[in-house]
């Protein structure tokens, strides 16, 4: 049976992809952000997970409004990042893990999660930037795990509730633990923290609320399910709803976890950037 090693969160801002390409690690603007990752790199090096569940939200590449799934799972041999409209170069494809994808789909549909399964899926910066942050040189990092992308809708309301997101993670954790392979898994929850790109409130950031979320996602995620979706928009900003990915990740880890590292920095691009590494107790 597979073993969940832990979960890692990060913001997945497109500008980070540029900064990585230009190696701006010691640039005064970027240093406080990139300083959050060496401990993650060390943990990955020490643990070398076989599989990575990449929970992200698509921003208008993989899905359009003609067919907007609440929850989607990639079930393909590989995943390509395509041009998102800015002419970014395409990376080599990320290797998939279709046996694990279908195992998760079987387990979670049986547990009454109404997934959309995707045998073709273009992945955007929400998927790619975290991979580049955690496995520098991705997909060509020597320890690159095989991956299952899972996407939740934060583009169009109604978006899933925080309670549903946490429950999703719990069912995902159950699915992973019943995967009949002696393998290790890390779960990424990406996006957030507070930010708003659109409207007269563009630029809104909420440090106090982010700290509340950071504290509770570690020790008391159930508390966060009391937040309504409209409260989340109000307090985290219109795009801060990406915090749902963190909830999904967190649900899969169970109760017994240790915080290995945490970073929080304002601003990166328009966003309050948060990084967290949670390890499941052995």
């Amino acid at each position: 049976m597979a073993k969940i090693l832990g979960g890692i969160t990060t913001s997945h801002i497109p500008a980070v992809g540029n900064a990585i390409q230009k190696e701006l690690y010691d640039d005064p603007y970027w240093k406080p952000f990139f300083d959050g990752y060496p401990k993650v790199h060390q943990w990955i090096k020490d643990n070398k997970p076989d599989y990575c569940i990449n929970i992200y939200n698509d921003h208008g590449l993989g899905f359009f409004l003609d067919r907007m799934p609440t929850f989607a799972i990639g079930c393909a041999n590989e995943y390509r990042n395509e041009d998102e409209g800015w002419g970014l170069p395409a990376l080599d494809p990320f290797p998939g893990a279709p046996e694990l994808s279908w195992h998760i789909a079987e387990s979670m549909v049986a547990d009454h999660f109404d997934l959309t399964t995707c045998q073709e899926l273009a992945v955007d910066h929400g998927f790619v930037v975290p991979m580049q942050l955690f496995w520098p040189g991705a997909p060509h990092h020597p320890d690159m795990p095989k991956t299952v992308p899972i996407s939740a809708n934060t583009v169009q309301h109604p978006i899933p509730t925080l309670a549903r997101a946490l429950d999703f993670g719990k069912a995902l954790g159950k699915a992973l633990q019943s995967f009949p392979e002696d393998a290790t898994v890390v779960i990424l929850g990406t996006g957030g923290l507070s930010h708003q790109l659109d409207g007269a409130r563009a630029g809104f950031i909420n440090k106090e609320f982010d700290q509340y979320c950071l504290d509770n996602i570690v020790s008391n995620p159930e508390e966060l399910t009391k937040i309504t979706r409209m409260e989340l928009v109000e307090k985290a900003g219109a795009q801060g709803t990406e915090f749902l990915m963190w909830m999904m990740m967190r649900g899969a880890l169970g109760d017994n976890i240790n915080e290995i590292t945490r970073n929080y920095h304002i601003p990166i691009s328009n966003t309050a950037a948060g990084t967290l590494l949670l390890e499941c107790a052995a």
């Binding site: 500008a15 921003h59 208008g60 590449l61 359009f64 409004l65 395509e82 041009d83 998102e84 409209g85 800015w86 002419g87 583009v155 169009q156 309301h157 109604p158 708003q196 790109l197 659109d198 409207g199 007269a200 409130r201 563009a202 630029g203 809104f204 950031i205 909420n206 440090k207 409209m230 928009v233 109000e234 219109a238 795009q239 920095h265 304002i266 601003p267 691009s269 328009n270 309050a272």
Partner: protein, 119 residues
């Protein structure tokens, strides 16, 4: 889609448009055009003939005018979603800070200062 009197799915948050079904239907043609800007050939097609390209996607007059004016707040009130609009902004090399400034009446530098002030 007309108004849904007596039933409201969201609260009023100043300066924030909830992109729900009503907005999504209003902006469908506009967002579809912008979604298709993911592909370089469509970005080129738009640049070569803005008016013809908007016509092809069936934009209404309000949407067309907001596109002509590069009016981001106007595009949002016409049903545009920021994730798709970002692909439109990308054609002109605008960053999210540029777009933020355009929406808040700030220069890009002023907008960046505002962001940093919240640290």
């Amino acid at each position: 889609m007309h108004d849904m009197p007596g039933y409201d799915y969201h609260i009023d948050i100043p300066g924030t448009t909830i992109f729900d079904g009503k907005m999504a239907m209003k902006g469908y043609a506009l967002n579809k055009m912008c979604y298709d800007f993911n592909k370089a050939e469509n970005r080129e097609g738009f640049k070569a003939d803005e008016e013809g390209w908007m016509e092809k996607y069936g934009l209404n007059e309000g949407q067309k005018q907001a596109i002509r004016d590069r009016n981001v707040l106007g595009l949002i009130s016409e049903g545009g979603n920021i994730y798709y609009l970002a692909k439109f902004a990308g054609i002109f090399g605008l960053s999210v800070q540029d777009v933020g400034g355009l929406q808040t009446g700030k220069s890009t530098d002023e907008f960046k200062e505002y962001l940093a002030s919240q640290a």
